[in-house]
Each structure stands twice: as C-alpha cells, then as structure tokens.
C-alpha cells in the first residue's frame, strides 16, 4: 500500500478540521491542534494504480497569520490549502501561507479548497479570484464540509498528483 503525507494548511477557522472530519479515519482528538499543533488522520483514496493511503497532517491554523509549524511540512507529498469562502481575508492570506510552505519544503503538488460553499449568501469570492488562482496555476476546488460537495474530488486529485509526482521527496 502506498502512503502519502498530505498537509492541510489554512488560517484559523477556515474549516480544515471539519472538512476532513466526516471523510477520514480519526484517532486523535481535536485538542491536539491546541497542544501539539497538528492532528493526523487517515484517508484511503482510490487511484488508477489501486489505492493510496493519505496521511493527512491537519496543521493548526494560527489566527490571522501565515504562521505555521514548518517542521510538520517536512517530507510532505502534497499540500491542500483551505480558504473560507465567506471570509475574504482567508483568501488573501493563503498566498502568504503558500510562500511560507514553498520556502520551507519547495514546490509540491498543491490545491486550494474554497470551503463553506454551502453558505452561498455569504460567499465573498468571485470569478476574478478564480482567475487569480488559475494565473498562479493553482488547482482549485469548491468544497463544503457540511454537504460534502467537492471534498472527495479534492482528495482524489491531490492523491493522484502525489502519486504521479512519485519520486519527488523534497
């Protein structure tokens, strides 16, 4: 069984934890975030080669800053950034986070999950933002932890990319 380490990065309150909660096998409680700063979950995703086990390192988002524990990123095979679609500032901060990550571990397969898509009324992102991401060749998914929309697709994509990248440890 192939295993891949995927880091989930996003500022506080973007719903990273909720995003994975329903779709993964959890062993550790949420309080690990406030103590160790990371919570690890497992998700098995089917890919063309069979199945791949994603070890999801859910990195605690510090409030409003691109401040994450860089050492947790070490050896990651992919990064899933999470943005709260109802909070504009989280979108802006994700670029800052990406810089931090890439500075630490180099370029990795990565995607952005624009989360909380169920809250259409409060949605703050538009087509311009999609273009901004596309311009930076950043794969994006619109997800909802509440309805589950887009979540499987996001994990499937990142799994596929990580496997394809294969022999590219940082």
């Amino acid at each position: 069984m192939i295993q891949k380490k995927i880091c989930m990065v996003g500022v506080f309150g973007t719903g990273k934890t909720c995003l994975v909660q329903q779709f993964v096998h959890s062993r550790f409680s949420v309080k690990y975030h406030s103590t160790v700063g990371v919570k690890i979950d497992r998700k098995v995703v089917p890919v063309d080669e069979g199945e791949v086990t994603l070890l999801l390192w859910d990195l605690a988002g510090r409030d409003g800053h691109g401040d994450i524990t860089v050492s947790y990123l070490r050896g990651a095979h992919g990064v899933l950034y999470v943005v709260d679609g109802t909070r504009r500032e989280t979108f802006d901060q994700v670029f800052e986070l990406r810089d931090v990550v890439e500075k630490a571990v180099g370029p990795l397969p990565s995607a952005v999950a624009l989360n909380k898509s169920d809250l259409t009324e409060e949605w703050k992102l538009g087509k311009a933002d999609d273009k901004t991401l596309a311009a930076r060749s950043w794969h994006q998914f619109t997800t909802s932890a509440k309805t589950g929309a887009g979540v499987e697709a996001a994990f499937a994509w990142i799994a596929r990319e990580a496997v394809r990248q294969g022999s590219a440890p940082s």
Binding site: Q3, K4, F28, G37, L55, G75, A76, S170
Partner: protein
C-alpha cells in the same frame, strides 16, 4: 606517386622496423591500455587480494557479512534444492548437539512454566489475581503478565524519518494496534513539536518519554526512526539493541530508502527484525536460583503441614493405642494375650475374669470408638486380691455392712451382719482363692423380734445389799423372766444352728478390800447361777465370772454407782452350735 601496393613491402618493412625498435614498449603500452580499458582488477589480481581484503574489511565492521548474507543464503538454498544430502552430511556433526540443546531448553522452559503456573495458581497472590480477573474481565494470563512483568517491548515502529510514514510495525501477539500509521505520524509530529518548542539544536531530539507504565524509546537514524513502546522500566541495553537494529535496517534497505516514495512494500523484510525486538522479561525469569527455592518452598510448606498433620494424627493414634494397651494390661482380671492394629481396627485377644471390668467400657473411657474395637476374651479366674475380694463379696452375698479383706490365704470379714447370713456364711466355708474364712470380726445381728428378747436379758440386773451375797427381794421374778427369755431365744437360734451362751458377771462396790470384793462378787454370781440352774437352764450355757470392782458399771453419783455395782448382770453370746468357734463377739 607510387601506388599503395608499392608501399606494401616498405610498409611491412616499416612495421618490422617498428617492431624491432619499439616492440617491447609497444606491448607494454597495449597491456597498459587493456588495463585502462577494463578499469578494474583482473581476476588474477582479485584472487591475490581477495582473502586479504575480506580479512581487512571483516576486521573493520560487519558490512561485508551483511552484504554477503543474501548471496550465501541463496547459495545454500540452491545447494539444498539440488542435493540436500550434501548439506545434511556437512552439518550433521552440529545438528545433533543443537537438537539436544533445543530439547533441553524446551524442557527447561516447560518446567519453568509449570512452576510458574503452580506458583500462581496455589499462592494467595494467584487467587487475588484470579479475583481481579473476574472483577475486571481481563483474561487471567494478562493479569499475571501485568503483575509479574519487569518490562516488555510491546510495539516497535519503523518510521520514515522525513515523512513520518510507517515503514514497518511489529506488536506483541495479544495486542491489536489499529492505527499504527497514524501513531507513526503523530510520533514524528511530537518529536518535531518538542524539537521546535524547546529549540533543541541539530542532533538533539526527543529520545525517551514516559506515559504511565509505558516508555517510548525513539532512535533516530538518517533515513528512519525506530520507536519502541515498552511496558515497565526498560533496561539500558534496550537502547543499544534499538541502535543496532536501526543500523542494520539502514544498511539492509539502503536502496529502498533511496527510492522511497511512499510505498512500504520494499521494507516488508524489516518485519522479522522488528519482531526480534519484541521481548518480554518477567521477574520470574530473573534470579532463577532463589526463585527456584521459593517454588520449592511453596511445595514444601503444604507438604510439611501435611506431614505434621499426618504425623500428629499418627502420634495421637499411637498414644491412644499405648494407653489402651496399658489400661487393659493393668486392669485386674484381664490378661492381654495379643494386641494388634489392622488399619483403623484394633484387635485384642486375652483372658478375662467375669468379675473384671468390662474392657469395652474401659476403652470407651479413654475416648475410643467401640465400633473400631474387636475383642475376644476367654473366661478365667483371677487370683488377684481385688478379684478374689470381689468374687467373694458376690459369692458370699456379703451385706454392705461387712468389710472383706485379704491377708495371705485368709479372707477376713468385719462389721455387722444379720445372724442368718453369718450362720449361712460360716457353713459355706472359704470362697475360691482363699483357704480360710474368718468371720470373727462380724457381729451377728439378731432378727428384730429376737433382739428385743436379747435386750431384755441383757437389761436384767440382780441387785444385792452391801456386803451380802443374797439376792434382793425382786430377784426371784427377774430370774424366772430371764430364764424364760433365755429359753425362747435359744429355741429361736437353734434353728439357725446357733446356741446361746449366757455370761454372768458378778460385781461388788468399792467398799472393803479388793480381795474381799473379788470373793464377794464370785459368791454373788455363783448364787445367781445356781438359781438359774434350778430354773432349768443348761449348765454349759452359763459362764459365771466374778470381777470384783474391775470394770464397774457407770453411774452419775457415788451412791448409785455402789448400788448398781452390787450386782450380777448378763451378756448374751451366740455361738455356732455345730462346732467350737471363736465366738460371735
């Protein structure tokens, strides 16, 4: 210009010239070139260098052995596949001792586990553990393990250092670890967390942490981390074992590490090495000698108690037995011929006088169970004094007022008894066991109606005036009544074989000389005797004695004493009629 052909001879010549001038150098050059092309060592050279090289490298580290191991393994398995006999013959000399050793160790282990099972099942502690097992629902084996554990390596994680992904995992057989991959990641994260939080410099990292009874020991290598979860305090040597294992794994999987992209399959071979690290050390595995003694003691104490109890019971039984035998041997009228114990049954044989005590009652008095006793007694007559006396008492039907005693061959009786008994007994003669019967100590008591007669005779007193031997005026009537009473009494006892002797005692008062009084008393008694003879009493039935003033009859005052002692009084004696006896008084 000449054609090429023209130059051929020249060319050949040139070659010849060149050969002549440069031949040796050219060959050397070609040899050098050839060597340069092969860029290696020739087999010849290798053959020269190989033994030295092997020795050199083997002395330096174990890499050579590790590198050769797979090839050697393959070679051996290939050889076995092709011709098993070859290898079998080769290793036969070592196989026998190895098998014997393995069997010995297995047996030792078996004995050890039996000892442990015995120790745990019979000890108080074992019972307590069983109770704990019932209470908590935890299997007994696990409770025993938990309590007798020194340390136990329960899990070993083999973790890719960079990604924290799990490469291999081994856990104790009774342990199910569902999320080894998550734990592997979290262990890595925690290590990073500690390093980051406490700003530890490169090379320093979390190596050991304790959680309750568990200790997690982490050894970090360049490519991988090995983490052992240990229950109980781990020894120092464990860390060395982990380091050694980690080094081996690095070496063994050097290629796999280089190519690692998340697939743990190439590391499957690591599992056996990880499992080697799973060890359980029980305190029963330590200090064989003292603990062996303890096991022995555990057996010895109940055995000793048992021996004491059995011994005590045997001793008590023996004591009872001796007491019983002694009692029977000392009992009068019982002669113990044989006594034996047959299991719980006691068998006695012997002689018993019918007058002897009942043996069953004697033994019951000692607390024996009569149902366990089998006794056969033959009857005999005992010559023991107690038995003779008892037999005589029964045989003579002696009344309670008669006391019997034995003196030599003579049975003597004392006390009082009815005249008919005395008469009958006198006629019986000596009872068995004695030759003489002495009844002289027994005072015969007359039947009530005759006793009145006797009293009236003995109450009669013939009084005299001072200095006179002539009876007073009442004497005539008194003597007639007395004669009548005598006759009736004599007639009554004659039927019992007795006759009556009447003793007449004459007295005088103290006036005058002793000799005169003696003579006076004699005269007085003779007068009375003569009067009684004249009244028809037989002469041989009357004994007259004058005693003067000796043995005077008592009276409250002088005058009365003088009056009553001027008298003749009577005493009745009963004697067996048939023969001359010593008398009955």
């Amino acid at each position: 210009m000449t054609g090429t052909g023209e130059y051929d001879p020249a060319s050949a010549e040139f070659a010849e010239l060149r050969e002549l001038l440069l031949g040796a150098e050219r060959r050397q050059l070609e040899e050098l070139r050839r060597r340069l092309d092969s860029l290696g060592i020739t087999p010849d050279q290798l053959a020269e260098l190989l033994p030295e090289a092997i020795a050199l490298r083997a002395g330096r580290d174990r890499q050579l052995a590790r590198a050769l191991a797979p090839t050697v393994e393959n070679a051996i398995s290939e050889s076995v596949r092709r011709n098993p006999r070859e290898i079998a013959t080769a290793i036969f000399p070592v196989l026998g001792p190895a098998i014997r050793k393995a069997i010995a160790e297995t047996m030792a282990g078996l004995v050890e586990s039996i000892n442990r099972a015995v120790e745990h099942s019979i000890s108080l502690r074992g019972i307590a553990w069983r109770i704990e097992g019932w209470r908590t629902g935890v299997p007994y084996a696990q409770i025993v393990l938990r309590h007798s554990l020194v340390y136990r390596v329960e899990q070993v994680y083999f973790i890719h250092a960079e990604t924290g992904l799990l490469l291999g995992h081994a856990a104790a057989a009774d342990l199910t670890v569902a999320d080894a991959d998550l734990i592997s990641g979290m262990l890595t994260a925690i290590q990073d967390f500690v390093s980051d939080s406490f700003a530890i410099q490169e090379g320093g990292e979390l190596r050991t942490f304790c959680v309750g009874e568990l200790t997690v020991m982490v050894e970090r290598g360049p490519q991988a981390v090995i983490a052992a979860v240990v229950r109980g305090p781990p020894p120092d040597t464990l860390l060395l074992q982990l380091q050694d294992a980690l080094e081996n794994l690095h070496f063994q999987f050097a290629t796999a590490f280089a190519e690692y992209t998340g697939d743990a399959a190439p590391f499957a071979g690591a599992r056996s090495r990880l499992e080697e690290l799973l060890v359980t050390v029980l305190n029963t595995d330590r200090g064989q000698r003292p603990r062996g003694a303890t096991v022995w003691m555990r057996w010895a104490i109940p055995l000793l108690l048992l021996a004491l109890i059995v011994g005590g019971l045997m001793w008590r039984s023996r004591q009872r037995w001796s007491a019983a035998v002694e009692r029977l041997e000392t009992a009068p009228g019982i002669v113990l011929v044989s006594a034996e114990r047959d299991g719980s049954r006691w068998k006695f044989r012997g002689l018993r006088d019918p007058m002897a005590a009942d043996p069953a009652a004697l033994l019951a008095g000692l607390g024996m169970n009569p149902s366990r006793i089998e006794a056969t007694w033959d009857t005999y007559l005992s010559m023991e004094p107690e038995l003779i006396l008892a037999r005589a008492r029964r045989g003579l039907a002696a009344p309670a007022t008669v006391e019997l005693s034995l003196s030599g061959d003579t049975l003597a009786a004392r006390g009082t008894a009815p005249l008919p008994w005395v008469a009958a007994t006198a006629s019986l003669g000596a009872p068995p066991g004695v030759t003489h019967l002495d009844l002289s100590g027994v005072r015969a008591l007359l039947p009530d109606e005759l006793a009145g007669v006797e009293r009236s005779i003995e109450g009669t007193r013939i009084l005299f005036s001072a200095g006179s031997a002539a009876p007073g005026p009442a004497a005539g009537d008194n003597l007639r009544a007395l004669a009548e009473a005598f006759r009736s009494l004599a007639a009554a006892v004659a039927g019992l074989g007795y006759r009556v002797n009447l003793e007449l005692i004459g007295r005088a008062d103290t006036t005058g000389t002793e000799s005169a009084n003696q003579a006076l008393s004699r005269m007085r008694v003779d007068v009375v005797r003569a009067r009684l003879l004249s009244l028809g009493l037989p002469a041989d039935g009357l004994d007259a004695t004058g005693i003067g003033t000796s043995r005077p009859l008592p009276a409250p005052d002088e005058a009365e004493r003088a009056r009553i002692n001027r008298s003749v009084s009577f005493i009745v004696h009963l004697q067996p009629a048939a023969r001359q006896s010593n008398g009955a008084r």
